[in-house]
């Protein structure tokens, strides 16, 4: 975990706020549990009150007062505009092209934003060192959403030269590879980390560092990346998070902790 900075917020907090700031009212957003859910709900509680949150449990337009601990929490069902079956959410809504933004995490990511959530190390798929949970909804989120945001702490274990397994496709081997294999969505358009933001080059689709967070150096980002990361000629600095966003986020996290503590 990143340390508290003098600025009064952690790098994780900056990462979440920055992810939230990428979202806009009116967008439909396919959200997983954890950081993506925190970022999307932060956006909903600040500048993007009309954002539409969709969870793969079939809850469409969920407006949870506290963050869900599972993808199918009753809080999601109780606040949703509609609850549909899991097959329907994947066919009519995701594959049907109704989702603007898909939010993904990953265990590993490569320079073309392909991701691995399946196995790491050992002797390949059948005898891995670490067996991860697997694909979940990610392969088709990566395929069918209008665009994909990836939210991931940056270090050389997660940002790797070569994936142990391609679970979900980013830009494959770059260029127009997605179009070539018939993928409707634009794929990952930004990788939001605790150090900065990476975006695919418009032609090669190789990830470039386009923004860097306050207090982070380019060398630090390069050291946290398992390939020779390209840096944009127009590298910009991320806006620090406003106190309002920090307050809303921390309040949401506290409400969540309180609500789930009395679980039994």
């Amino acid at each position: 975990m990143a340390d508290d900075t003098k600025a009064g917020y952690t790098r994780d907090e900056l990462m979440i706020v920055e992810a939230a700031r990428q979202l806009r009212s009116g967008q439909s957003c396919f959200v997983g549990i954890g950081m993506p859910s925190l970022a999307a709900n932060l956006a909903r509680l600040t500048h993007a009150s009309e954002i539409i949150l969709i969870y793969e449990s079939g809850t469409i337009g969920a407006k949870p007062a506290v963050l869900p601990l599972s993808i199918g929490d009753q809080e999601l069902a109780e606040t949703a505009d509609a609850v549909v079956s899991v097959p329907e959410i994947f066919t009519y809504w995701l594959q049907g092209g109704r989702i603007n933004i898909g939010f993904l995490g990953a265990a590993q990511i490569d320079r073309y934003a392909n991701i691995n959530t399946t196995v790491i190390g050992g002797d390949g798929y059948h005898h891995p060192k670490v067996r991860l949970p697997g694909a979940g909804g990610a392969p088709e989120i990566a395929t069918s959403c209008g665009e994909v945001f990836i939210l991931l702490r940056q270090n050389s274990k997660s940002f790797v030269d070569k994936l142990d397994f391609i679970t979900s496709v980013g830009h494959l081997d770059g260029g127009n590879a997605r179009q070539r294999i018939g993928m409707p969505g634009r794929g990952p358009t930004r990788i939001i980390t605790d150090l900065g933001i990476l975006e695919p080059h418009p032609e090669s689709r190789e990830l470039m560092l386009t923004r860097i967070h306050p207090g982070v150096t380019v060398d630090e980002v390069l050291a946290a990346t398992g390939w020779p990361l390209k840096v944009s000629e127009h590298l910009q600095q991320t806006e620090p998070p406003s106190q309002h966003y920090l307050d809303v986020m921390r309040d949401l996290q506290q409400r969540t902790a309180k609500a789930h503590a009395g679980g039994r």
């Binding site: 694909a135 979940g136 395929t143």
Partner: protein
């Protein structure tokens, strides 16, 4: 036609060694009581399928009852790894575990195809991933009109579907309220279906467009209060989030896992016994923590 019977009888009658079993529930309404009963009855050589094999399958896998797992996401939701699943895959303990691995969309569509009486499902998925290299049940198919290449997966047609729901009426019609997951599909795609319910009622009170499974697609209905615990049943009880966290500790070592099973599952006669023991232990714990 649905027959009401005790859960133990339903498992004994309808689940055989070597069967393919799908116990579904998407976070909500996971049929944990039925999973425990499989352990008590030591059903062997099972092929189990489930989109999200969480604690319920971690237990079956850890007890060595599972030959093969068909799945799309194997973790402890909101907590982390499934240690028994990982131990089976990484260390082959207590036995090697064959995997057939899909995406959620692939699993959902395969269940739909099963319910629809079709041999396969079509989806736009898997392209560019490594998944088809390790799963021969993911193939490509061409659209006969546009030529577009899409993915095909075979239908899921389990021998037995097991789900949990809120209510059954006297005829055995079953009402599901809230997040419905793939429960309708798995019941309709299976050769036999066992449904555990929170309660039996005179009238389901189901409105238009409610999710009702008619009695004649169900083999056995079992009244099992708290049958989804530690998962939740909308309108009855909340998710026991604390137990999902505790499971991370319980299941971390083989010894603590086996001790827990001996204590809570094989050491209790049925789900009522399990819940009594569980509640007693956890109210003690809360007191000792307090």
């Amino acid at each position: 036609m649905a027959q009401f019977m005790p859960l133990a009888d339903a498992i004994a009658t309808h689940v055989h060694d070597g069967d393919t079993l799908a116990m579904e529930g998407f976070t909500h309404l996971i049929p944990h009581a039925a999973g425990h009963e499989l352990i008590r009855q030591q059903k062997q050589e099972l092929t189990v399928m489930r989109m999200t094999p969480d604690i319920i399958y971690d237990q079956l896998i850890g007890m060595g009852l599972v030959r093969k797992l068909v799945f799309s996401w194997g973790g402890n939701p909101g907590v982390g790894s499934l240690h028994r699943f990982r131990d089976a895959v990484e260390k082959e303990w207590p036995r090697a575990l064959e995997l057939e691995e899909h995406s959620h969309a692939g699993m959902a569509c395969a269940y739909q195809a099963g319910a629809s009486g079709l041999p396969f499902a079509v989806l736009r998925g898997y392209a560019g991933t490594d998944m088809p290299h390790y799963n021969p049940n993911i193939k490509r198919i061409s659209c006969p009109f546009t030529g577009e290449q899409l993915a095909a997966v075979p239908a899921h047609r389990p021998d037995v579907a097991v789900i949990h729901a809120q209510k059954a009426d006297r005829a055995g019609n079953v009402l599901i309220t809230g997040i419905q997951g793939v429960q309708k599909e798995v019941v309709l795609g299976a050769k036999r279906a066992i449904v555990t319910v929170e309660e039996k009622v005179d009238d389901l009170g189901a409105g238009f467009n409610a999710i009702v499974l008619p009695h004649w697609v169900i083999a056995a209905v079992c009244v099992v209060p708290f049958g989804a615990h530690p998962s939740y049943a909308q309108g009855y009880y909340k998710r026991d989030n604390a137990f999902y966290t505790e499971w991370d500790d319980i299941s971390r070592t083989r010894e603590s896992f086996l001790a827990w099973i001996a204590d809570y599952i094989t050491g209790t006669r049925d789900h009522a016994g399990f819940m009594a023991k569980f509640n007693a232990a956890h109210s003690d714990k809360e007191r000792s923590n307090g």
